[in-house]
Symmetry: C2
Subunit: 346 residues, 2 copies
């Protein structure tokens, strides 16, 4: 915390910052990320799960509006903070997202950091999906402002394709905060009378007890590929995404949900029987049924795996995520051809 | 819960059972196990960590006395429940341990189950370490009464030596409790319109989002070794433990902390300069400094790795855990010879 502003409790009573930080940082290790009080409506479901988990309750999470591209609207964040304060609550934490799950949206971090600074709030960035973009000189501008965050969560097991699980929590704090939050000084496991510097023992800093040395995967990969090698992967993923979108636009049966700014390509496959029927009243309803059928067919054929989901008022659409560094243009062409083949009778 | 008895809140107000079970089961997946309100003084440190984590606070954990072998004393459990009730608290959960970390003690589960039944309390057994003993017809009596538990935590990555991490939570409940507790129905990840039975999708039941398929390791190992193969591993570990203890007793420089009933062999190595000095006032203090020195030497030589720790009023002693199925009698002999060699000048 930049200052010692008290934090939010469920009933509005200020609690000591330390006690709640203990909770807030309790759950940040690995995949679970606590994201109350304010987070955008496109944020990851783990936010509410974390709130339930830590005993704060899902009601203490305020949802901030996102624009049509899925980016948090800083003006609404400001508004939600005022509303919370008017209700007697004490906001303490803002969660921005760099790379939302479905649309791949990047929240405007500079503007959000301004709001956090003005109100003395802890700024956490969920960069689980988009954090790897920082390795690319060309694309890292998407995360401008992340250097102002108090904490950042990043999953190298996502875009960098490290083996599951490989998750990092990065903190501005240099006072060994995790140790202060989580250390339980179990003397039968974390002996203090060792012959080396016990500050190197990280076991007592984390939530779990027995766990794999997940950071080794990242270290090995980074050593093997170098910063430049990893940068190439990111740039190639962006380039291949652009190629896929360009090819998609040349074909009749594909409709983009929006122009991607990241490597999430969200689109509908419009089968022959629905083409040109955009004006018919049951178009959306019928279109939403296409993706599950195609998914079933591709799974049964064993040819591809592309996720689909509904999103807000939009019915089921595919979300092709271009991340695997082994992907080529030929794979993108195959994807389009295969969808046309699988859906030609629909 | 056997009945709908209200659960404990920090300030003694009864809360709906569902709300708290949500928390209680929130954290049971993988290594973290919540173990309030009552647990023995020899229980794992994750109990208090879990209490802090879930927002219940460590003060809501009551520590039950253990006997000199590290086993929970059921009479003291009964007493702690009465004390808690007298203070206006509402106990809801008892955690027994089958195989404590240091001494390898098994709590008397039948007697604990009787107490839980009498008071309508949820009985959880932390069998992370000792649960694998159930696979042995010869030794499973150590866990008599576990069939009466409401929930059991078991780590096949410990005694069965499955790769880290492989943890199971077993429930009496058959109503899909974890789904009810954890399900967050994130429609963008857990689609309901799939072509197969979505009850097979377990992702929404657990705390984490992206995670490895840890259960596969157990399944593969069980398929490869069979029940009998795994039983052999357990029986062999017990047999090798007995061999080690027998050989230890033949030698001058080894003092057992207690006769092991499991595969934890707790002992001091008494170096030549301390032998026969048991009566000297600084004996314990000097003995406690031996294990760290020997540990440093074995690590630097790269010959062995044996853990040590203090425990209660007892100074540092070694804890040899005989679990690896590749261990032989020759390894046990090596261990004893090596300790004598490394400690001959002390």
């Amino acid at each position: 915390m930049a200052d010692s502003k008290p934090l939010l409790s469920r009933d509005g009573d200020p609690m000591a910052a330390e006690a709640l930080l203990r909770d807030v940082f309790g759950i940040v290790v690995d995949e679970i990320i606590w994201k109350g009080t304010s987070a955008s409506e496109k944020c990851h479901y783990s936010i509410k799960k974390g709130a339930a988990f830590l005993g704060l309750g899902t009601d203490s999470v305020r949802v901030v509006k996102a624009d049509e591209r899925g980016k948090m609207i800083p003006e609404d964040l400001e508004r939600q903070i005022s509303l919370a304060e008017a209700e007697g609550a004490v906001p303490f934490l803002v969660i921005a997202t760099s790379g939302t799950t479905v649309l791949g949206a990047f929240d405007p971090l500079e503007a959000i950091a301004d709001v956090c600074q003005r109100h003395g709030l802890w700024m956490h960035v969920d960069a689980a999906w988009g954090g790897s973009v920082l390795l690319s000189q060309t694309h890292r501008h998407l995360l401008d402002g992340i250097q102002r965050a108090d904490s950042v969560a990043w999953n190298p097991h996502k875009l960098l394709t490290a083996g599951l699980q490989c998750s990092a929590l990065l903190l501005q704090d240099t006072s060994n905060l995790l140790k202060h939050c989580h250390g339980s000084q179990a003397s039968y496991l974390f002996q203090q009378d060792k012959f080396y510097d016990v500050a190197l023992d990280t076991g007592d800093k984390v939530v779990q007890c027995g766990r794999r040395v997940d950071c080794l995967k990242l270290w090995l990969m980074w050593k093997a590929q170098g910063g430049q090698g990893l940068e190439c992967r990111i740039d190639q993923a962006f380039a291949l995404t652009r190629y896929l979108v360009k090819e998609m636009k040349k074909r009749e049966g594909f409709e983009l949900v929006m122009e991607p700014e990241f490597v999430n390509v969200c689109f509908w496959f419009v089968p022959p029987s629905l083409r040109g029927k955009q004006e018919s009243p049951d178009y959306s309803e019928r279109l939403a049924k296409v993706a599950p059928v195609l998914k079933e067919r591709m799974v049964k054929e064993g040819s591809m795996m592309i996720g689909y989901q509904p999103h807000g008022t939009k019915g089921n659409f595919f979300r092709m995520v271009v991340a695997n560094p082994a992907l080529t243009r030929a794979d993108m062409d195959f994807l389009l051809n295969e969808l046309e083949r699988l859906g030609q009778d629909l």
